[in-house]
């Protein structure tokens, strides 16, 4: 009996209160996942993992010389950036670049809506974060979980845990964050601009060659992004080639699900109380929010600038869909368009901008890796 309770008696609760706080945080993440349906595939494993790694003397994480399984998984899948890359194959297989290929000018919004990344990089530097951490925090603005993990892990940031939590939490909050920013940046008249959709067919050859050429371009101009872009485009090539349907299905479902499951649980090793509960974590959450706000504003304001020169005006709300949170962002813009004018269907334009955001966010990640010297 004494043996049974020895662990309990060995716990110094006066110093272990932080663990209890982490249990509450884990509980909140699980609640948000189940009750609010916020990125449940990731927030639920992360919430459970937050509890798992914050138990006194938890065998799930390394204790002294005894390696814990979560740390083993972290080293095998995240420390070497493998999990995010595998996830990108699945994401690539899910994306239809058709709307973008038939309306390439929407690509510009993908570029403009990355402004939040670079703005946050400067802001984080100003607040005293080291360049490697500032760059890792800034990439929350990519609105793309795997890219955030890839970049923060590449820089060996001290704040991988909070960065990933922020990245996924804000992606789930896109329907709350974006409408507020869009309304601030636009007038009612601008939100009422109608955009007729004239679909253009795209040849199958174009759809097959596109992912190959993009990989080559990324390799030439942003070599450090080529792993991310390459895996994304490989997934898309499997989808579009037409002869690997079962592999495409597996990548979209089994592979993506399995990696997501492991990713969520494994990331929790970076949510150990001592490292996680700090002022820096709060600052990172704030900076992540700023990154999302300035991404959205960047896309909208760019659309407004374009409208000065264009005969056929663009609804500036479409610019907001240039962030990578796919497909939430395009749905938000479409819904807002319908609220303003029930006959204004912006979905396809927004989807094109949103898909462009997927490519642009990965390119932005590669540029950050290239430009930030550590």
């Amino acid at each position: 009996m004494e043996q049974l309770f020895s662990n309990l008696l060995a716990i110094d609760w006066s110093t272990q209160w932080k663990m209890v706080v982490m249990w509450i945080i884990g509980g909140v993440l699980i609640y948000l996942a189940i009750k609010k349906d916020m990125e449940p595939a990731l927030l639920l494993p992360m919430g459970f993992g937050a509890i798992l790694v914050n138990l006194p003397f938890s065998g799930a994480v390394t204790q002294g010389v005894e390696e814990g399984p979560i740390d083993v998984l972290f080293n095998a899948g995240i420390a070497n950036e493998l999990f995010p890359l595998l996830l990108f194959i699945g994401i690539g297989a899910m994306i239809d670049f058709g709307p973008l290929l038939s309306n390439p000018k929407m690509m510009l919004f993908g570029a403009a809506a990355q402004f939040g990344i670079f703005f946050t990089l400067s802001l984080a530097s100003f607040l005293g974060f080291e360049p490697k951490d500032a760059a890792s925090i800034a990439i929350i603005g990519a609105a793309d979980g795997p890219t955030s993990i890839f970049v923060s892990q590449f820089f060996k940031s001290n704040y991988v845990g909070p960065i990933i939590i922020a990245a996924y939490s804000y992606m789930a909050l896109v329907p709350i964050i974006q409408p507020a920013v869009i309304k601030i940046c636009t007038t009612k008249k601008e939100r009422l601009i109608r955009m007729p959709y004239r679909p253009k067919s795209v040849s199958k050859t174009t759809k097959i060659i596109f992912p190959i050429v993009i990989t080559v371009v990324a390799g030439i101009f942003a070599p450090k992004s080529v792993a991310l872009v390459g895996f994304l485009m490989f997934g898309n090539l499997i989808r579009e080639c037409g002869v690997l349907n079962s592999l495409s299905e597996s990548a979209q479902h089994e592979l993506a699900n399995l990696v997501t499951l492991l990713l969520g649980l494994t990331v929790s090793t970076k949510m150990q109380a001592e490292a996680f509960l700090s002022l820096e974590t709060l600052m990172i959450m704030g900076l992540g929010l700023i990154a999302f706000i300035f991404d959205t504003a960047g896309g909208v304001i760019f659309a407004k600038i374009l409208n000065i020169f264009l005969k056929e005006k663009i609804n500036p709300m479409v610019g907001a869909a240039g962030i990578s949170a796919f497909p939430m962002s395009s749905r938000v813009v479409h819904k807002m368009g319908l609220e303003e004018d029930p006959q204004n269907f912006l979905l396809m334009h927004a989807a094109a901008a949103n898909v462009a955001g997927q490519i642009a966010s990965v390119v932005a990640g590669g540029l950050i890796l290239t430009l930030v010297q550590i």
């Binding site: 973008l100 290929l101 390439p104 000018k105 690509m107 510009l108 993908g110 570029a111 990355q114 402004f115 990344i117 670079f118 703005f119 990089l121 400067s122 802001l123 530097s125 100003f126 607040l127 005293g128 360049p131 500032a134 067919s201 795209v202 040849s203 199958k204 050859t205 174009t206 060659i209 596109f210 050429v213 993009i214 371009v217 990324a218 101009f221 942003a222 002022l279 820096e280 600052m283 462009a356 490519i359 642009a360 390119v363 932005a364 540029l367 950050i368 430009l371 930030v372």
Partner: protein, 52 residues
């Protein structure tokens, strides 16, 4: 932490500039490629059937 580092801010501004320039350059090149692909591989009858 929470010491405002103006030097770091000034050092990061060129990264912001080059980053935004770089991303617009890459996106511009991708747009050009999409345009060229559309010209070189126009839609055929079979593609129209598949698109439908």
């Amino acid at each position: 932490m929470m010491n405002f580092d103006v030097d770091a801010l000034l050092k990061s501004l060129p990264t912001m500039g080059w980053g935004m320039l770089g991303i617009f350059m890459v996106i511009g090149i991708i747009m050009l490629i999409i345009w060229i692909l559309g010209k070189v591989f126009p839609v055929r009858k079979e593609d129209n059937k598949e698109n439908k």
